[in-house]
């Protein structure tokens, strides 16, 4: 159907689509209502991974996957208001591919894979290859997002988002961290501080090299990590904040989230 009417705009929760229609940004010729597809509303565990349908709303992720996908659940908790979390979905967040979407940093940090489908077949796109530009993704016009795949957390995960009010706010910038102790690796995701959500690759590489997984956190490592995360961003000045502030805040969030994750990790090991 999507192939037949490539101009049709898929609608899931509608919390982006309807806003754009109301604000006259788009007047789509047709809407493709995905709410008729029950498969999209389910999640399952397959071979040690979670496959979460594109239509699973945030509220369900928080309630049912908070333990397995903690970084994503924390991000989900920060999305909009209860009404938005009841309707809004990760699939829609991916479909919109806004640099400010809150799902993206934890998907990046947690090595999520996006399953997209068309009449031609299925593609599995790693999150870090999914975001191509401002509101542009690797999704082709004839494709739909079916689900995302993520391994359950193998270590502590944290998500942190700066906004200029204490609830219901679009990210000025955000950051996610995921420890992968089994691989001696730390995943990262930066939101709202570049044309696309992105990983802080140098920062990840730096930690892979310098982190002593047996020791307490070295303040110097922490400082450098913050610097590298800030350096990985290419923020702009806009109505929500300045580029300088975004870089500064990313460094602070990077240090704090890594510290929290590290403390949890050491506590678990000590226990």
């Amino acid at each position: 159907m999507k192939a037949g009417t490539p101009g049709a705009v898929p609608i899931q929760g509608g919390t982006d689509v309807m806003v754009e229609i109301n604000f006259d940004v788009h007047r789509p010729a047709a809407l493709l209502d995905l709410n008729q597809v029950p498969e999209l509303f389910t999640w399952e565990r397959i071979d040690g991974s979670y496959r979460v349908g594109a239509g699973v709303p945030y509220v369900q992720i928080i309630a049912e996957l908070g333990h397995e996908l903690p970084g994503l659940a924390q991000a989900a908790r920060t999305v909009g208001s209860p009404q938005i979390r009841n309707r809004g979905t990760v699939g829609g967040n991916l479909g919109a591919a806004s640099p400010a979407g809150d799902s993206h940093p934890p998907l990046l940090a947690g090595d999520a894979i996006i399953e997209v489908a068309s009449a031609a077949g299925t593609r599995m796109i790693p999150a870090h290859e999914f975001y191509l530009g401002v509101k542009k993704s690797a999704l082709r016009p004839d494709e739909l997002i079916r689900a995302f795949w993520m391994k359950p957390a193998d270590g502590p995960q944290y998500f942190s988002k700066v906004g200029t009010r204490n609830a219901m706010v679009i990210a000025v910038c955000s950051f996610a961290v995921a420890l992968h102790p089994s691989e001696r690796r730390v995943g990262t995701g930066i939101g709202s501080a570049a044309p696309t959500p992105r990983r802080a690759l140098e920062a990840e590489a730096f930690l892979a090299e310098s982190l002593d997984w047996e020791a307490r956190m070295d303040p110097e490592v922490l400082r450098r990590f913050g610097e590298l995360v800030a350096a990985a961003a290419s923020p702009i000045d806009d109505v929500r904040g300045t580029a300088d502030y975004r870089r500064h805040a990313l460094a602070v969030m990077a240090r704090r989230t890594l510290t929290w994750a590290w403390n949890d990790y050491r506590k678990v090991r000590a226990a």
């Binding site: 924390q74 700066v162 204490n166 000025v172 904040g241």
Partner: protein, 765 residues
């Protein structure tokens, strides 16, 4: 004439409480359940949808405009431009008549209305707007308020020259004491553009009548002032327009100026069909005026022990392209420029200017809000320079009953400011930070901290607001009260043109009628122009003014009722539905004396007269009443990220007399929240005359996680001139909460913070 669906009807006031009780309001439950009929819900058979073409440019010439394509579209019934305005082509809030109904050859601000469309469906109307072709000559916008005020070579924005108003205030002689100051502090302060952000966008319905007149259903703040502008522009007399107040979704000053009223009227007269206009959220940001942004320069000289010797002040207010409320905003800022402080020598120069920035006008506490942020910041600065704490420095300089304001006006009513500050200081402090729940922390669920970097601060703010219209304005309200027996029960029908904008006015009207007439049943007539003006629902004046009018009308009804009791008693009163003689006890039930008759009285109520401000010295008895509020703010600031969580706001306010505690507390909570919004988030961001955030995505207002619980101390020191001794209460808390919050952030961070709203980057630079 058919009445539209969801048009207002008579409502029986709920409960049976009189003055001092807290009966529930009739609109409360409906609003919570989403059932209240707002003006955007009006509907009538055969109506068309009106839409407005607005300027994308802040300043440009219209070289040519072609409406042909739009007019030719199927389903389009009219496309109108300034050529089609039937009467006067300009209107203006203060009858300055400087604002074009539709742009005439040029535009002076982004969003200025240019043309109107009436169509069968809003979507057709929208497409028709797009089909109107305009050739523009875009000009560089005039956005520099300082040059507009002081540079005579700066081009003129509109026909009226800059400044729109200059008002000096000269009290004592600043120069004579300048040398004697042992401590001098200076500061330059800025206030960004705040928006009323009411939730119900501009909307209404215009229904043409067979006699050539119009029925207008609109959400407004002051029907009769609307009419003074609508009539002449539509070429109709007052009698030809029947106006009914429809459900108002908040106002805060933003509905004092006209929005869609004349436009809908033009389309209705042209098409002969009812016209409905509803702005969407984005259009609403362009459909009403905002709070004036301000730049303020202050210098205070004082003795070492903190006594202020002089204040030297300059206040610059940018009103945008048209006058709107600027003249009065300047008057308030000038007369209250140093607030409730007894300063022996004062020099204030206040300017309101025209620019191509967004139009600004009335918003809760106008003029006084801007000055309050500056003078309260100065008090903290002076205190710090003298080594005196914030409360004591204010107490040392506090005005009180009998001392003069900067205008020379002697404060005639109790003003126990020093005591109120003491009370605020002594209130118990909120519990220390509990970091175990991240929602208590700056950033909340966004999890920016688990407690790291968080510092607590405490700050105080005091604000003084003039209540009712000032500067010699003939300010009055009118009420008609009819007492009759309905279904065997004495019932009062209260009819005014006063706008219930959500503040709870109709409830107060009913309470007053109950108290004055000794009855329980009160019915509120829809507000319309079937009765004379009630004045504006602004300046915190309606409980005072329309409350006063209802009281006076009830007294007249009561007199007439007593006159019908045989026996020439002089000691009568109305209690519990009975006519009671003090000497002889119950004489009769009201119902028995009234019988089939109705007693109806209409009364006009004036407040104590005021004078203008002297043009050169600003001196005069310019204010009818003063309201004072003291705030203490406690904040937690994440000093590394610059995020703020206001932990508690405590307020001490003197309201003279509590008429309805529940509504009053709502006003103090709401006013405080709006002040908090200005302190930490609310701003219309403008670049080159263009608004960059016309939506609730980026124009942020406080959520329930931003607005903390409040502790209230409400005092009742009567104002002898006011009905029941009451003082208007809606605005004072809006003044004082902003500086209190900012002072608390300064206390937590040690930063200077000279601009509101304070943004995270201001705290981390």
């Amino acid at each position: 004439m058919t009445t539209p669906l969801r048009a207002p009807r008579e409502i029986a006031a709920p409960g049976n409480g009189g003055v001092g009780d807290s009966p529930l309001r009739p609109d409360g439950t409906l609003k919570v359940r989403g059932e209240f009929a707002y003006s955007s819900d009006l509907w009538i058979e055969g109506m068309l949808w009106g839409a407005t073409l607005r300027s994308p440019h802040p300043r440009a010439r219209i070289v040519s405009m072609d409406i042909g394509l739009a007019l030719a579209m199927n389903g389009v019934h009219a496309v109108l431009t300034h050529d089609d305005v039937p009467g006067r082509k300009h209107y203006g809030l203060d009858l300055t008549w400087d604002q074009p109904v539709l742009a005439i050859g040029e535009v002076r601000h982004q969003g200025e209305p240019i043309a109107l469309v009436a169509a069968d469906h809003p979507e057709i109307a929208r497409r028709a707007l797009k089909a109107i072709a305009i050739e523009w000559e875009v000009l560089e916008p005039l956005t520099d308020a300082r040059r507009a005020a002081f540079d005579p070579t700066y081009p003129q924005v509109q026909e009226r020259p800059n400044p729109a108003r200059y008002q000096p205030v000269r009290f004592g002689d600043v120069e004579s004491v300048r040398d004697r100051a042992e401590v001098v502090v200076t500061g330059t302060y800025e206030v960004g553009i705040q928006d009323q952000a009411f939730l119900g966008p501009e909307s209404g319905l215009a229904v043409p009548r067979e006699d050539g007149g119009l029925d207008l259903y609109v959400a407004t703040q002051w029907m009769h002032n609307d009419l003074k502008q609508i009539g002449p522009c539509l070429g109709l007399t007052d009698e030809q327009i029947h106006m009914t107040l429809s459900g108002v979704g908040g106002a805060f000053g933003g509905r004092e100026d006209l929005s869609m009223q004349i436009h809908a009227g033009m389309l209705a007269l042209r098409t002969g069909r009812p016209i409905k206009i509803v702005y969407n959220r984005e259009e609403s940001f362009f459909g009403h005026v905002h709070r004036h942004p301000a730049e303020m320069r202050y210098e205070y000289g004082a003795t070492r022990d903190g006594r202020i010797l002089y204040a030297d002040v300059e206040i610059l207010l940018d009103g945008g392209a048209y006058t709107s409320a600027t003249l009065n905003v300047v008057g308030n800022a000038a007369s209250l420029g140093v607030g409730p402080y007894a300063i022996p020598n004062v020099k204030i120069d206040t300017y309101g200017v025209y620019t191509n920035n967004p139009p600004c006008g009335a918003m809760r506490g106008f003029g006084a809000v801007q000055a309050c942020f500056a003078y309260e910041s100065m008090m903290d600065k002076l205190g710090a320079a003298c080594g005196i704490d914030p409360v004591t420095i204010r107490q040392i300089n506090a005005a009180s009953q009998g001392t003069p304001l900067a205008t020379g006006q002697i404060i005639w009513a109790p003003l126990p400011m020093a005591e109120m500050l003491e009370q605020a200081r002594r209130l118990p402090m909120p519990a220390p930070l509990d970091a175990s729940d991240i929602r208590n922390l700056p950033g909340g669920a966004s999890q920016t901290t688990h407690g790291e970097g968080v510092r607590r601060g405490v700050g105080y703010g005091v604000g003084l607001k003039n209540i009712c219209f000032s500067e010699g304005y003939d300010d009055y309200s009118t009420a008609r009260v009819r007492l009759e027996v309905i279904g065997g029960v004495a019932t009062a029908l209260v009819h005014t043109a006063a706008a219930e904008v959500g503040q709870g006015l109709v409830t107060v009207e009913a309470q007053i009628a109950r108290t004055e007439l000794g009855i329980e049943h009160v019915v509120i007539h829809p507000a319309d122009n079937g009765v004379d003006s009630a004045g504006s629902s602004s300046a915190s004046r309606q409980t005072y003014m329309t409350g006063g009018a209802v009281k006076t009308a009830c007294e007249a009804v009561r007199q007439e009722l007593f006159a019908r009791v045989p026996g020439g008693h002089t000691d009568l009163s109305l209690v519990g539905g009975k006519i009671v003689s003090e000497s002889m006890g119950v004489l009769a039930a009201i119902e028995d004396v009234l019988g089939e008759d109705a007693i109806e009285e209409t009364r006009r109520f004036h407040h104590h007269p005021t004078t203008g401000m002297d043009k050169r010295t600003g001196q005069g008895d310019t204010h009818a009443q003063l309201g004072l509020c003291v705030h203490r703010a406690v904040v937690d600031v994440d000093v590394e990220l610059g995020l703020v969580k206001v932990v508690e706001l405590a307020a001490v306010q003197d309201v003279g007399k509590i008429i309805n505690r529940l509504s009053l507390e709502g006003q103090i909570h709401g006013g405080t929240a709006q002040g908090l919004g200005l302190a930490v988030m609310e701003e219309i961001v403008v670049r080159d005359g263009k608004v960059r955030n016309p939506s609730f995505t980026d124009y942020l207002i406080p959520t329930i996680l931003d607005m903390p619980p409040m502790r209230l101390e409400i005092l009742e020191n009567a104002d002898p001139r006011a009905p029941y001794g009451l003082r208007g209460a809606g605005e004072p808390p809006t003044l004082s909460s902003t500086p209190a919050v900012v002072a608390a952030i300064r206390d937590a961070t040690g930063l200077d913070l000279t601009r509101v709203p304070v943004r995270p980057e201001h705290l981390t630079e």
